[in-house]
């Protein structure tokens, strides 16, 4: 049986593409990293790929806002390809800088009545720490059926999910587009409390999907929790659900 081909985008400054590739391979996919310049110059057929990963990093040094210039690449060079991928219902995941790019390109949350962005953390600085995520959406194919909280690290300075009109949060919730929220102690949502919600996101939102549920964007890094020894408390016998589960779900949807 052929492994599903997974396109991992690399823009200048992307740096978690190898991490994502490792997660994809472990989940059973064939990871193929392509630089944006290669995609522009070579005749790569996007339709030959079954899954798209927009990985983390600092594309174009985060100049003018994280993900902003990669979003410009997506909307200027690959608008048709990305739309076709999304419309075909193929799994798409944007992680950290990839999430920022998908939001700023208008792919997420993917509805004209909600204007969203990812902006500077409330703390005012970059932060690297492990968080616990509560899966909250059956609409999203990446989180569907997950019952356990997922542990993985965040590492970002501009991860605060913000809406132009805070009242539109209800619309996202109602549509099942809030896929992952930051957890506080005791298995409940963080309710905005730092550091459980590490960036001050509205509604503790760590990840959102499009209305169809095939495109997920999230700030935390599930690709950096695919093996038990990556967990910060493995020496204490702690585990927590692997971020790998998300990638396995993505594969399952194919």
């Amino acid at each position: 049986m052929h492994k599903p081909r997974v396109l991992i985008l690399h823009a200048t400054g992307t740096n978690r593409d190898l991490d994502a590739a490792q997660a994809v391979e472990l989940a059973g996919g064939q990871a193929e990293i392509r630089h944006v310049n290669q995609l522009r110059s070579e005749r790569t057929r996007w339709e030959d790929f079954q899954m798209l990963v927009v990985p983390g990093g600092f594309s174009y040094a985060d100049a003018l806002g994280a993900g902003k210039l990669m979003a410009l690449d997506l909307t200027s060079y690959f608008a048709e390809e990305v739309n076709a991928f999304v419309d075909a219902g193929k799994p798409v995941i944007g992680i950290c800088n990839g999430f920022q790019a998908l939001v700023k390109a208008g792919v997420l949350p993917g509805r004209s009545d909600v204007q969203a962005t990812l902006t500077f953390n409330q703390s005012g600085h970059f932060e690297c720490r492990w968080v616990r995520l509560l899966p909250r959406s059956e609409t999203c194919l990446w989180t569907r059926g997950l019952t356990e909280p997922v542990d993985c690290p965040v590492a970002h300075g501009e991860g605060r999910f913000t809406l132009a009109d805070a009242a539109r949060l209800a619309a996202l919730l109602a549509a099942g587009q809030v896929a992952l929220v930051y957890a506080g102690p005791g298995g409940r949502a963080a309710e905005g409390v730092y550091p459980h919600n590490p960036n001050g996101s509205i509604g503790d939102i760590a990840g959102v999907c499009n209305p169809q549920g095939n495109v997920l964007g999230l700030m935390p890094h599930p690709e950096d929790h695919i093996l038990p020894h990556q967990h910060p408390r493995w020496t204490r016998g702690a585990g927590g659900c692997l971020g790998l589960k998300l990638f396995q779900n993505g594969m399952k949807a194919l």
């Binding site: 978690r16 490792q22 040094a61 809406l163 020894h229």
Partner: protein, 974 residues
């Protein structure tokens, strides 16, 4: 486009929300610097675009590129200054000086093209600050601008609106000056060295004169600059290779005389550092002291490289840029041995954060500003380039006020036998990466000089801001070119720029280089400036002509610029032309071997290690000690307290290999001894261990014991997490004062001698090292300010089974606590004394190193391999008391500790080498004790389940504290 049709368009971007984290942070910084009357600061972004833009273009740029419409608003054109809603608001605007790297501006120009906006020619960026402070006058505002808002080295500021500056193109290029050297007297020779800031002494100038006379001509400016760079302390380490005569040899006791036969050390690097490596002859050392980085074998398929550099002088002047390019530089060192960088480390030493401005020497930035700039610079580079920063230290001492120390390390991985290091005649000389500008001129010689109040101004060009994304491109290109075997040699462009890189690569061959082919950031550079420029993010490769096409293809995919500037030749001469005309023609033998050996004098410090004075560890007994207060003061001492504020802003998770993280334990906040990493691409369950040792306080008292102690500290940290003590290699980084002073040279010799003896004791070879000397500051008061002698030892360990790694946090109530190693504490230069602010802090001894330490580490490693150790933590600053408290903090568990004996204060807080604490399950106690048969160990007590931390001696309670109180003190939460 007509020149006169060009305009500069101004865009001001402000947050829509009233609360803005960046503005809040700026306000907090202002308050911390003493500007307490300021009620608010609003920070806004400025963009200046030069070109010809339609109103539609301006709107598109403003809304689609320069701002985030959800959170920000943009104003195009001038913004009214002054009063807002009836209250006095000051405006300060800053902009980068012309020629300072501005990556955002470069992206604006690129993005405008992507958006099909053709009228954009150049861009530049700045910031606008709106300051609300009724009590601030114009003088105060200037002070605020200088101390917080702008650094004059890279930025300009204006009260009110600022005009952007673009690099001037007016200056003449191609200009080559001829310098008169033949026939000059000594005075004229020294004047020339001084005038060109060459840092060459008379002997060296005379050697240059002899060369000129033999060649029958004077030198061009570019030739002279190249010799000065090649012969600089930074590049050739002439102090470490000097012949040193010991002035007070006759007065030395017998054991010293034996250590320095004849009272002379000829080349301390060879005598003490390389000699240790040679004698140990570890079969797993693949390259030591020859390449850009040391290299050891790893998992059978890969090798690991490691290099640590310092970037002290640049960080003193421009903290962000200095640290930023320090990280970038050491990453290129690792890239220069064809390795993919997998981890970064940093050890930072600063002046006290609360230093009053009155005590700050003129021309020196406040330690608080240096701290925040340096930390931000490390963060910016490491995070953006995607290399996890996993190990380090942050220390404070008044001795670092004028001269902060910034040690940046980088670790890399490469498949065995793919690194090539021999250029062949006919290979092309190829430069890849960033363009060349006037940035960083004479950095190599600058870093070899003592600084004074003018250094910041004169040497402003010596610092630059890095562009980590450009360097990321270099990594992508080099790794692929390596795997395809496209180059025959590679080196980085560091201090000395092309002069150093091409000079070194061609030193055993020759080369011909055409300088007008080098791509410039802006025109107007003279040939010597192009040759010496230390513009960042460049590598030089030797590429056989047949591979050029494929190499160029890889570069273009990753947006990396490539320039072919010449070829390697068999001639033995380096010839540089500018537009075909020879401007440099030097004999490689003279250039690389013509430097006269330096002669220096040393005075061995006799008092070291035999300090008189009161030391309770030597028999005295201290009455009326508040042990509880002592412990809490130690835990909240800046050197010991939690560094979470620094650690958490570094990405230590990228690449997914960080298995023992810098912070660990039940709440992810205990201080790890070392990092354990499994690199991407590693084969099997192998992992690497990274740790360090540093102790400038010991350095003030006893350089020998300091050096022995920090080597031991680096090793025991590595062993604590599971490294095999038989597989640890070391790196030495010396930061010292002016070696022409015999006392300074004497302490340097003693430290180097300790390196030799301690490395042999442990069988741990040095694989790389570096020195930064002249860390002194001549203040306006005419007094010299020198740093404490500071040796950082970095350890690189290997473990065969990552699942055996151990963290430092206590795991379970009821487990036994053991102290292993010979506990022989001292209070001289101890943190207990420092925390108490005691006058007698430096009385007494620095702890010696017990000869049993290697056996203790072997026994501990064997116990760890058998799974007998649940937690392990080393005794360092603050001694046994702090080590035990930190384990409790890590595990959020209490402990019951009964001290075996001795003077209680010394037993609890005295500092010792060679000791660790271990947590052992009750059922493993017998096996654990058996592992230490014949060695010193004590069963100290056990882990408590009730979160009480209790210490007693002979039944007398010394400390009884809830763990929560330890946590509060350690986190400095009130």
């Amino acid at each position: 486009m007509l020149q006169d049709a060009l305009r500069v368009y101004r865009f001001t971007v402000r947050p829509r929300s009233a609360t803005d984290p960046r503005s809040d942070a700026c306000l907090a910084d202002a308050h911390a610097l003493g500007f307490t009357g300021i009620q608010s600061i609003a920070v806004q972004d400025l963009y200046f675009i030069e070109g010809q833009l339609t109103p539609e273009d301006q709107k598109a740029l403003a809304e689609r590129l320069l701002s985030d419409p959800v959170t920000q608003a943009v104003q195009i054109g001038a913004v009214a200054d002054g009063a807002q809603a009836g209250r006095q608001v000051w405006v300060v605007e800053t902009a980068l000086r012309a020629g300072v790297t501005d990556p955002v501006a470069e992206q604006i120009v690129r993005a405008a093209r992507v958006m099909h906006i053709q009228g954009v020619r150049r861009a530049s960026t700045g910031q606008r600050f709106l300051i609300h402070c009724p009590t601030l006058d114009e003088e105060g505002l200037h002070l605020l601008a200088k101390r917080l808002l702008a650094n004059p080295v890279t930025q300009r500021y204006e009260l009110g609106s600022i005009e952007p500056s673009f690099p001037s193109e007016a200056e003449a290029s191609a200009r080559v000056d001829r310098l008169r050297i033949c026939g000059c007297d000594d005075e004229a020779l020294l004047a020339l060295s001084q005038e060109r800031r060459a840092a060459l002494d008379l002997t060296e100038m005379r050697a240059i004169q002899r060369y000129c006379e033999a060649e029958g001509r004077d030198l061009t400016d570019i030739e002279f600059e190249m010799i000065a760079q090649t012969w600089s302390e930074h590049c050739v380490h002439k102090t470490f290779k000097a012949r040193v005569e010991i002035e007070n040899y006759a007065d030395l006791p017998a054991q010293f005389k034996g250590a320095y036969p004849g009272g002379v050390v000829d080349n301390l690097m060879r005598t003490f550092l390389k000699a240790a490596t040679d004698r140990i002859a570890a079969p797993w050392v693949r390259s030591a002291f020859v390449d850009n980085a040391g290299i050891v074998a790893f998992d059978g398929a890969n090798e690991i490289s490691f290099k640590v550099e310092t970037h002290n002088h640049p960080s003193a002047i421009e903290p962000f840029g200095g640290a930023n390019t320090g990280v970038g530089g050491v990453i290129r060192d690792v890239l220069g041995v064809s390795a993919r960088p997998i981890a970064a480390t940093d050890v930072l030493c600063f002046g006290p954060q609360e230093l009053p401005f009155e005590r700050l020497p003129e021309g020196v930035l406040h330690p608080r500003r240096i701290f925040s700039g340096v930390v931000a610079g490390v963060q910016d580079y490491g995070n953006k380039i995607g290399i996890p920063t996993v190990n380090g230290a942050v220390l404070f001492d008044e001795g670092f006020t004028s001269n902060p120390l910034v040690y940046c390390g980088c670790v890399g991985i490469a498949p065995l036998n793919l690194h090539r290091r021999t250029p062949h005649p006919g290979d092309r000389v190829v430069v890849i990466g960033g363009r060349t500008g006037r940035d960083g001129l004479r950095g190599a010689t600058f870093s070899s000089m003592t600084m004074d109040a003018q250094t910041g101004e004169v040497s402003g060009a010596s610092v630059q801001i890095g562009a980590p994304i450009t360097e990321k491109g270099l990594i992508e290109v080099v790794v692929r070119a390596r795997d395809e075997g496209l180059y025959s040699a590679i080196t980085d462009c560091g201090a000395g720029g092309l002069s150093s890189a091409v000079g070194e690569m061609s030193s055993s061959l020759g080369a011909k280089v055409e300088l007008s082919d080098v791509r410039l950031k802006y025109p107007g550079l003279a040939p010597w400036e192009i040759w010496l420029s230390e513009a960042q993010e460049r590598m030089v490769l030797a590429i056989p002509p047949k591979n050029m096409a494929r190499f160029a293809e890889i570069c273009s995919v990753f947006d990396v610029e490539l320039t072919d500037i010449g070829e390697f030749t068999a001639g033995g001469r380096l010839v540089v032309t500018y537009s075909g005309k020879a401007v440099l023609d030097l004999d490689n033998r003279f250039l690389h071997h013509g430097i006269p050996q330096r002669n220096l004098k040393a005075r061995i410090p006799l008092a070291a290690g035999h300090c008189p004075g009161e030391d309770c560890c030597r028999g005295g007994y201290t009455e009326n000690v508040d042990y509880t207060a002592g412990l809490l003061a130690l835990l909240s001492h800046p050197n010991i307290a939690s560094k979470a504020g620094v650690v958490r802003i570094y990405d230590h998770e990228v690449q997914g290999g960080t298995l023992i993280k810098p912070l660990t334990g039940a709440e992810d906040d205990g201080p790890s001894d070392a990092a354990v990493l499994r690199p991407l691409g590693a084969v099997g369950p192998h992992a690497i261990v990274l740790s360090n040792g540093v102790n400038p306080e010991y350095g003030k008292l006893d350089a020998y014991r300091m050096a022995a102690s920090v080597i031991d500290e680096a090793l025991r940290n590595a062993v604590a997490v599971g490294a095999d003590p038989a597989r640890i290699s070391l790196l030495d980084n010396f930061c010292w004062g002016d070696p022409t002073r015999p006392e300074t040279m004497g302490s340097l010799l003693e430290a180097a001698r300790a390196c030799y003896e301690t490395a042999l004791l442990f069988g741990a070879p040095f694989i790389s090292g570096k020195d930064s000397l002249n860390n002194e500051y001549l203040a306006a008061d005419g007094l010299r300010h020198s740093i404490p002698p500071t040796l950082v030892v970095s350890a690189l360990g290997v473990m065969d089974d990552l699942s055996k790694a151990v963290s430092m946090d206590l795991k379970q109530a009821g487990d036994a606590l053991y102290l292993v190693g010979r506990h022989d504490p001292r209070l001289g230069a101890s943190h207990y004394r420092l925390a108490g602010g005691a006058q007698e802090a430096y009385d007494g001894e620095v702890p010696p190193l017990d000869a049993s330490a290697p056996a203790v580490y072997r026994a501990l490693h064997a116990a760890i391999q058998k799974g007998l150790v649940r937690a392990c933590h080393d005794l360092s600053e603050g001694g046994l008391g702090v080590a035990a408290a930190e384990m409790c903090i890590g595990g959020r568990l209490g402990a019951e500790i009964e001290l075996a004996g001795g003077e209680p204060l010394c037993a609890l807080f005295g500092e010792t080498n060679g000791c660790l604490l271990a947590e052992v399950r009750p059922e493993h106690e017998a096996a654990f004790e058996a592992a230490f048969e014949g060695l010193s160990f004590q069963r100290l007590g056990h882990v408590r389940g009730d979160e009480e931390f209790r210490v007693s001696m002979n039944g007398r309670g010394l400390i009884d504290l809830p763990v929560a109180a330890l946590v509060r003190a350690w986190k400095r939460e009130g």
